[in-house]
């Protein structure tokens, strides 16, 4: 394997692994503080049991999230020293703030997980809120760093070096708001559905179990609520792409020709040699409308850009389809859930619906992985869009295949153990 490819593979694998645990670190605290808050309010012990059992699973996830994140912060220098020598100071602001958020999160997590019998009830709940805040801020800050790679601002270039650095402007670059919003919602949405799916599975066997009913209600409300918000924030992202990264948008939609009234393509096979996309279902003029609120707006096609500046079209296109597809299934699940609740004036535990929610368990995480593939692969061949090519950022270190295989084996091993341990946590009480 070529060195650059190995470095990219290692980075992608490490991030794909970390993001799962990071999302759980953002969203599980919300579920826990809701459950614990309901316990404080209603004095119903079931809610306390729920908060405690969720916190056990979360303890495992947090540890994996923290160590895999540490790996990432070193890997930035181990794999991309040139990129970091250039970008480190510019995107340093969010990373410094992120360090602060980690402290808040890790300190209060210790109090939350181990302090059930040691601190007053309200302090304990407050600690949970601080973990939630710390997790959300960690995610938001690091995503603004990634957003800067998409729309670099806040500096000038002179003789190949960055000067007049304005770290605040870099952090508040044009992509930050939409990406951070979309990512934060994605975390709540994915975790909400994953947790709801697990409890739906048990409710099918035991529909009257008070514990699972309460868990299901909380998780599904969170997941369903954010599912409905997500396409709105996705649309904000797409509008921003149309303005700032048209080539990525063109790859997502497999749009070769520059066109007025461009369609949205569902499925299809992008043929990169002949520069056409075949067999797609087209929704006429929808893309122009969604990105510009004008059915005849012009959308730039891939042919506007020289081939060496285009990302791999098929990967980006398929990844985008997967993300949006998963999103729509979950929106439907959320809407049906709301409707059933209203109709039944109670929990939507029709057995077909529970089966549907069980099916949704992994969808949010699949969408997160796909979404990041869109963002990252869609930015290629650039590591900093229009400024530095990925190929120029990689370390001269030879044999990168070795650490890549090493980390891959390590992470596969960890994934297996995490699954086994979670199964035990979940089934042990059944």
């Amino acid at each position: 394997m070529e060195n650059l490819l190995a470095a990219r593979a290692q980075m992608a694998m490490s991030l794909a692994f970390h993001i799962i645990f990071a999302s759980i670190g953002i969203a599980m605290p919300l579920l826990m503080v809701i459950a614990e808050g309901l316990w404080l309010k209603t004095k119903d012990e079931t809610y306390l049991t729920l908060a405690k059992r969720w916190s056990k699973g979360t303890a495992i996830m947090f540890a994996v999230g923290a160590v895999s994140g540490t790996v990432l912060s070193f890997e930035l220098g181990l794999l991309w020293p040139t990129f970091m020598a250039y970008a480190g100071p510019i995107i340093g602001m969010p990373f410094s703030l992120e360090g602060l958020a980690f402290f808040i999160e890790a300190i209060f997590l210790g109090i939350y997980l181990y302090g059930w019998n040691r601190v007053p009830k309200t302090v304990h709940w407050f600690a949970g809120m601080m973990v939630l805040l710390g997790g959300m801020l960690s995610g938001i800050f690091v995503v603004t760093a990634n957003a800067w790679m998409n729309t670099p601002t806040g500096f000038q270039i002179e003789a190949g070096k960055a000067i007049n650095i304005d770290p605040v402007a870099a952090m508040l670059n044009p992509s930050s708001f939409s990406q951070a919003l979309h990512m934060t919602i994605a975390a709540f949405l994915a975790v909400g559905f994953a947790v709801a799916g697990i409890h739906a599975y048990f409710l099918r066997r035991d529909p009257h179990n008070a514990f699972h009913r309460k868990a299901f209600a909380i998780a599904l409300s969170v997941g369903g609520f954010f599912a409905i918000l997500q396409p709105i924030s996705g649309d904000i992202s797409a509008k921003r792409l149309a303005k700032h990264q048209p080539v990525k948008l063109a790859a997502m939609e497999a749009q070769w020709e520059t066109e007025r009234g461009a369609p949205i393509r569902i499925g299809g096979i992008p043929d990169e040699d002949n520069e056409v996309t075949r067999y797609a279902i087209e929704i006429p003029k929808a893309l122009s409308f969604l990105t510009h609120f004008d059915i005849n707006a012009e959308i730039k096609g891939l042919k506007e850009f020289p081939p060496e500046d285009r990302p791999p079209v098929a990967i980006v296109h398929y990844a985008f389809q997967i993300m949006v597809g998963c999103g729509f299934v979950m929106i439907i699940a959320g809407i049906i859930g709301g409707w059933l609740t209203w109709r039944r004036k109670g929990l939507p535990i029709n057995s077909w619906y529970l089966r549907f929610i069980t099916f949704c368990t992994p969808l949010g995480f699949i969408a997160i992985e796909a979404g990041w593939t869109v963002t990252e692969v869609g930015r290629q061949p650039w590591v900093i869009y229009n400024i530095m090519r990925t190929a120029d950022a990689v370390t001269p270190m030879p044999h990168l295949i070795v650490p890549f295989i090493g980390f891959t084996v390590l992470y596969i091993f960890l994934s297996i153990i995490v699954v086994i341990l979670l199964r035990r946590q979940i089934f042990i009480y059944e």
Partner: protein
């Protein structure tokens, strides 16, 4: 002295000290888990677990602070270190991942003797690899063998010779002994059982002597292995009184452990470690990577450093009381009987 980059360098040095005193002691806990012996081996392991569980994740963040400050303020140095020391850093990362995960998995896996022991072994071995590799990295940075281009951070290196040498490994082992000493001393106060206290007292005494030996060995090796540091350590005006002070504190600490004045030892040993790291920091100053990269010639502009320092100050205002509360909750009281995992 009032250049902003020196303030950042100071914050990094303090973070490193705090990391050693807290996170380093967590690694030391892993070492004593491996060497848990005798009738009370199981109890020793239990105390270690109990002491670490609520705090290790927070302690670990200090390392991230150091890395982030390095790449924000001294990006060229970060690039250089990441390139030339790719191998020991990667090994350290493996250690970090395995240490943290094995520790948690042990708590949540089935509690049979064999499973528990298997995770303990992994936790312990990772707790040994990580501080050694951290020390090797610091030793290599000090050794003067990493010749980097100041402008680009590009470094001529075979990726091995600058760290695979006697001096860096001596620093690695030195770091390991410091972690073990800190942990042993802290652990004497984590239990009320006099027999267990004796166990950790003995361990503290042995490691205190090892620390002394490794300090001497490192100093001798530095003549060949890190000449510019040796100059800093040996020749300047402040060095002699500083060494005497460090030595005096070390001997006082051994006396305190010997006499079973554990609360005193718990104060003196961290002071000793702090002095050692300070000594090294001042000896290396103004170099960040000897012999080419200094704090000044790799620092970025003040427009970047100023906001970072502001964040550090705000952060300190938030983080210090929060840490204080965390330790007060878990280290201040004696009721160690309560349910640990909720």
């Amino acid at each position: 002295m009032f250049n902003l980059e020196y303030w950042i360098a100071g914050v990094m040095l303090i973070s490193l000290i705090v990391y050693m005193l807290t996170g380093g002691a967590d690694f030391g806990g892993g070492i004593w888990d491996l060497f848990a012996t005798g009738r009370r081996a199981k109890d020793q392991r239990e105390i270690i677990t109990h002491a670490l569980a609520p705090i290790w994740e927070a302690n670990h963040v200090w390392l991230i602070v150091i890395v982030v400050l390095l790449f924000v303020a001294f990006p060229v140095a970060f690039a250089t270190i990441g390139t030339a020391l790719h191998i020991p850093l990667t090994l350290m990362l493996f250690g970090i991942v395995l240490r943290g995960t094995a520790f948690v998995f042990r708590t949540y896996d089935d509690q049979s003797e064999t499973t528990h022991l298997r995770w303990s072994r992994l936790f312990a071995i990772a707790s040994i690899i990580t501080p050694i590799m951290l020390g090797v990295t610091l030793g290599a940075v000090a050794s003067g063998t990493i010749h980097a281009n100041v402008e680009t951070g590009i470094v001529e290196t075979d990726f091995i010779s600058s760290w695979f040498a006697l001096f860096p490994f001596a620093i690695g082992v030195f770091t390991l002994t410091l972690c073990a000493l800190l942990a042993a001393v802290y652990l004497t106060l984590e239990t009320d059982n006099p027999e267990l206290q004796e166990d950790f007292r003995l361990r503290a005494l042995i490691t205190a002597i090892c620390v002394g030996i490794m300090a001497g060995v490192s100093f001798l090796l530095s003549a060949e292995g890190a000449p510019s540091i040796r100059k800093g350590l040996g020749n300047s005006i402040w060095s002699m009184p500083f060494h005497l002070l460090t030595g005096a504190v070390a001997i006082w600490a051994i006396w305190a452990i010997w006499k079973r004045h554990y609360p005193l030892a718990r104060v003196l040993v961290p002071i000793q470690v702090t002095l050692i790291i300070f000594g090294w920091g001042f000896a290396q100053f103004p170099y960040i990577v000897t012999p080419n990269l200094t704090f000044s010639n790799t620092a970025v502009s003040n427009s970047v450093l100023r906001p970072v320092l502001i964040i550090v100050v705000i952060g300190a205002v938030i983080v210090v009381p929060a840490f204080w509360y965390l330790y007060a909750v878990f280290k201040g009281r004696d009721d160690r009987d309560s349910d640990t995992t909720g």
